[in-house]
Subunit: 133 residues, 2 copies
């Protein structure tokens, strides 16, 4: 039941953010199914070799975004209802994150087509995971 978490302690990206991303990717690829349990804050922290609070910080964020449910005594579970679908707030947020990426791409003469193909590659990569497992 051990988790596919790969952290880069040298990265400038905070550990708890990496954790959030890895878990979201796990859900996106279907490696973790809705309703499935995640390790407790203590066991995951011990497995990875980090502090309990760092894991808790990531879990709290995922909970607030609707990715997981936390039962006080039972533990952590991927939202059985599935992740809340995109709303306008999410789209705005997504847009503001894409904004600087596309600005720089334009400066570097990346065409809209090439950019789109790159996104397509990533989408395919995630969906292959779903079929495979």
């Amino acid at each position: 039941m051990n988790v596919f978490i790969n952290l880069d302690f040298e990265s400038k990206e905070p550990i708890y953010v990496q954790l959030i991303h890895q878990i979201i990717e796990g859900i996106a690829k279907g490696k973790i199914q809705p309703g499935e349990a995640l390790p407790s804050v203590r066991s995951l922290a011990a497995d990875i070799g980090i502090n309990l609070h760092t894991v808790n910080k990531a879990y709290q964020h995922l909970k607030q975004e609707g990715f997981i449910l936390i039962h006080r005594q039972k533990g952590v579970v991927v939202n059985p209802e599935g992740v809340p679908e995109a709303d306008d707030a999410y789209r705005d947020q997504l847009k503001s994150k894409l904004h600087p990426l596309i600005a720089e791409s334009i400066c570097r003469k990346v065409s809209e087509q090439e950019f789109s193909e790159l996104c397509s590659q990533l989408f395919t990569e995630f969906n292959e995971g779903k079929g495979g497992k």
Copy 2:
């Protein structure tokens, strides 16, 4: 010659990062042309109401990425040769930035088409700026 810089001091995004993004966007939209001069670290800092070192940090980063040239006594200029075109390193970096965005989008049932259209909107938005000004 005053610059279209809009900073959000409440944002969790560091000021110098916002500065970097705004200048890159200015170049992407053609508001600042290659060869054109940018304000000195001191004057820009004074205009915005921030410290000289914060501006310098942003300029240094833009210099290292090839967006601007810095002549020790003349000042700062948008790279007359144009911004270095995308290479493999840049594409890898771009991919790793898109990765978590697409993962979350998949979880939230954003289709590849919708995602692609969103990118297309942003591309168009930047290129409109070029025709207009």
